[in-house]
Amino acid sequence: MRYHPHTPGDVRQMLDVCGVKSIDELFRSIPEKLRLARPLDVPQATDEISLLSEFQRLAARNQTEHPPFVGAGAYAHHVPPAVDQLLLRGEFFTAYTPYQPEIAQGTLQALFEWQTFVTLLTGLEISNASMYDGATATAEAVLLATRATSRGKVVVSAALHPEYRKVLATYLASTGDEIVTVPYGPDGRTDLAALEAAVDDRTAAVVIGYPNFFGVVDALPEAAAIAHRAGALAISSTSEAVALGLLKAPGDLGVDVAVGTMQSFGNGVNFGGPAPGFLAIREGLVRQMPGRVAGATVDRTGRRGFVLTLSTREQHIRRDKATSNICTNAGLAALAATIHLSLLGKNGLAHLARLNFARGKQLRDAMKRAGFGLRFTGPTFNEAAFEVGDAEAVVERLASRGIAAGVPLSRWYPGDPRMKGALLSVATEVHTPELIELFAQTVKG
């Protein structure tokens, strides 16, 4: 076994040093009746060559030949090969959480850079070292808001990602906090009159997608103002972070906590995970922030270095009084995003964001030419909901041709008759104009 270096001679010598006759004897503290008396019932061991072909066969049963036109929280973008080659440096990917900062400066400085990128993109002052994903980051943001305001009600837009709302409901099931969902209007944006009516002096936070689940640029500044008038926090949640290269930063629109995922940078869609969740806050909320954070300091000779800091908020110190139970987060996925953002830089990000907007427009135009209008009138970035008649049939028909068309919105909004024929689809820089045109024509059938 290539991962087990012990020769029979090694084992003998080591047992002698331990003063036992057999390896079995080392397990004597496990009562006989609790031991497994048979081999595990799992498939027999295989060699590397068979392993590769077995996994290739499995992977081939996923149809990924064409770039997916489905987004809805996970976005297929071009990841430069440089990202993955750097990520594969074993010093990064086989390191643990940086508990010994002197020999983890690489991870720590990269986390500090990640935190800086997150603050630049969100326009807020502080970011933590990453969260599990966009959905749990959103739930943690709400928990943060309930602690910061000592209030127990959260008002959520129905245009926030439905999966994020489900996760939030799961997280709040045991806290007794109340979730009020406000509808969206014909423009696909949060209904501000309904929001105004729902927010009161018991409200801890208002949560808005940015862009929202329909790809629409939601009324974030107006929603933030409504939240603030009631003394609540404004939370924005972003699953397509490339949009933040074009749209004004949430922090500049009044948002107090910006969360979401940076999966679009440096990370594949990976069947939904892992992805680097992010959480950024205004400075005044730092004591309530969940998760790890890297900070700059100096070593004993005065050189700048980095450490994990403000750990008195965290579970390993505060135990049941911690701001969260989060421990391991999404470090390597955050590093991938950091490397990609470094490559993009100021000009590359602006370029990528405009290109995505342009592809979104090409998709809307191509669909319009094919006879499919938009479900919502509000402005969109690279994703939009189209009226295609029978959306489920379209998805099934395109699947038979190896194309992932999008998601029928009626799956997530079964009670809303407006969603009956709505198909949510995206186009990014990986979709060429020719492919987009072909897609629209194929939807037409």
């Binding site: 076994m1 991962y3 087990h4 012990h6 040093v17 331990c18 397990f27 503290s29 609790l34 498939p43 061991a45 499995l58 992977a59 996923n62 990924t64 997916p68 489905v70 929280g73 440089a82 440096r89 990917f93 086989t94 643990y96 020999i103 983890a104 991870t107 850079e113 603050t119 502080i126 970011s127 959905a135 990602h161 045991s174 500044p221 074009l246 995922t261 939904g272 995970g273 892992p274 300091t297 070593d299 000779t301 800091t309 390993h316 505060r318 135990r319 139970n325 989060i326 996925a333 490397i339 470094s342 993009l344 830089g345 000009n347 602006a350 990528l352 342009a358 099934e396 190896g402 992932a404």
Partner: protein, 521 residues
């Protein structure tokens, strides 16, 4: 800005000569580690590190999106060419210690070798490029892999079913406690308390608190074990569950586990297992057979998926039959010859709901399944055997040189402390920092909390006898130096690119992001 890291050439003086000899032939020597500024302190206006198709002429976001919602660019973003970025992250990597660099005996973290073939497999386009919302007809391979891994994990830990979605061990704990809560609610009331031994990980009480439970700490006995009398005394009808790590964080098997489980079950409580130390019993014993009702696996520990400097992890949760109805969604089921995700609560009306976006950390599933396939039943058992052998070998060799606070048998890890070094003024922290100069990552220190100045060593099965001998040699040299020249230990580490860092300063004057002109002094 010319020298933002604060490094000066004079700092290298005196770093050579006798020092290299002092740590011996296998110790760390100072290689060419390059000073490296932040990306935000580098580059030059106009540079870019990506190649993208042009933005089509006439693209005008302002024609559709209100101008007040747009920004032309983000000030402060770096502007670097590809090579600058490549060198930057290559240099940062060289400041890091990884399993690929050397021994990493972090107790309770199970830093075993992460197979390279798993990286190749996880990068197959069919896995990495599969969108989570592909129709199930287009994602049968991914679903089949999840289903197979779920079946294997359930068998390995002895549970009828396993929840695959949790993003990490702590989220697995959260999921387990949510299911326990739902189970009690279905029987009338959630109950209010969770019992947690004093050896537990901090995530245990934090996860309990997130579920609205208050925690009752149980003292372990003088042998490092939890005793049935202690549990019986604390147990009542208001206790929802007990959370036990077995073997515990001292590396000691909780011999009384079956009796403890019976006591808890008799009063209607459930038994939660923290699977952080599952490596110790793989193929030897199964938590599901010991009375545990639920346990989280840490695929990034036991099943060798990379830790990545702090994640991503993956924390599937095995559950007993009584908890199956409450499992969070999705679950993957096999219908005839095809696989599908159950996501609709109408199919599982008692589900606690959804824990995270989509289905789980697929990238980790691929790697974990690859390891299980390559090891097979005998290889899996061999993991525990060699992990326990390695830990006991280190224990036997260090005993007498470092104090062993518990004489009880240990399995995959062993906890020493600094009692024998204390009189010379040398602490666990000094030992840890000096180990770095010897070319090894320090063990987990100051945990578990029941041992003052704990040094918690977990070698894992993938380390050779030579590596263990080097580590032992370093520890013995440090024990010697603690007697002969304790002051020298205080200035350790001297070899890495940075000396001991001022953590107090970091917390008192937090600098958590780069800002233009940033200075840290």
């Amino acid at each position: 800005m010319a020298n933002p890291t604060g490094w000066k050439p004079s700092m290298e003086k005196g770093a050579e000569g006798g020092e290299a000899q002092e740590v011996g032939a296998m110790g760390a020597t100072r290689g060419l580690a390059m000073e490296e500024a932040l990306v935000f302190e580098q580059g030059s206006p106009g540079r870019v590190g990506v190649s993208l198709p042009p933005v089509p002429a006439g693209t005008n976001p302002a024609a559709e999106i209100p101008a007040a919602m747009l920004r032309p660019e983000i000030p402060g973003m770096p502007e670097m060419a590809e090579l600058e970025v490549v060198r930057h992250f290559t240099r940062l990597s060289q400041w890091n210690w990884g399993i690929d660099t050397g021994f990493y005996p972090l107790g309770s973290c199970t830093m075993k070798y992460n197979p390279k073939s798993s990286e190749a497999l996880a990068r197959l386009p069919g896995f990495a490029g599969a969108h989570p919302l592909l129709p199930s007809s287009m994602s049968q391979g991914a679903l089949e892999l999840i289903w197979k891994l779920e079946r294997a994990l359930s068998e390995i830990a002895g549970f009828p079913a396993t929840v695959m979605s949790p993003a990490a061990g702590a989220q697995g704990e959260l999921a387990g406690l949510m299911m326990i809560r739902a189970y009690h609610v279905a029987r009338g009331a959630p109950r209010r308390k969770v019992l947690i031994p004093d050896t537990a990980h901090g995530t245990n009480p934090a996860s309990a608190a997130l579920n609205g439970y208050s925690t009752v700490q149980l003292e372990s006995g003088p042998d490092g074990r939890l005793h049935p009398e202690t549990v019986a005394k604390a147990m009542d009808e208001d206790v929802a569950a007990i959370m036990i790590t077995n073997p515990n964080t001292l590396g000691i098997f909780e011999t009384h586990i079956a009796e403890i489980a019976a006591i808890v079950h008799a009063r209607g409580g459930l038994v939660y297992g923290d699977g952080a130390n599952f490596n110790a019993v793989l193929g030897v014993a199964r938590p599901g057979d010991m009375g545990f009702d639920v346990m989280q696996y840490n695929l990034h520990k036991t099943f060798a998926t990379p830790h990545g400097g702090g994640g991503p992890g993956s924390g599937p949760v095995g559950v007993a039959a009584a908890l199956v109805p409450f499992m969070p969604l999705p679950v993957v089921v096999k219908d005839g010859e095809s696989f599908r995700l159950v996501t609709d609560p109408r199919e599982r009306p008692s589900t606690i709901g959804k824990l995270r976006e989509f289905w789980g950390n697929m990238g980790m599933f691929v790697r974990a399944w690859a390891l299980i396939r390559e090891l097979g039943p005998d290889g899996l058992r061999r993991v525990a055997e060699l992990a326990v052998l390695n830990a006991n070998y280190v224990r036997a060799r260090l005993k007498g040189h470092f104090n062993l606070p518990y004489a009880t048998d240990t399995l995959h890890e062993v906890v020493f402390d600094d009692q024998l070094q204390k009189d010379d003024g040398v602490t666990t922290m000094d030992v840890a920092k000096r180990l770095i100069d010897h070319g090894t990552h320090p063990p987990t220190v100051y945990f578990p909390l029941v041992v003052h100045g704990a040094i918690m060593i977990e070698p894992t099965e993938t380390e050779s006898k030579e590596t263990l001998d080097q580590f032992v040699g370093a520890m013995l040299a440090i024990a010697e130096q603690a007697k002969a020249n304790p002051e020298a230990l205080k200035s350790a580490p001297r070899k890495p690119i940075r000396a001991r860092l001022d953590e107090t300063r970091a917390a008192r004057k937090p600098v958590l992001r780069w800002t233009p002109g940033m200075k840290v002094e």
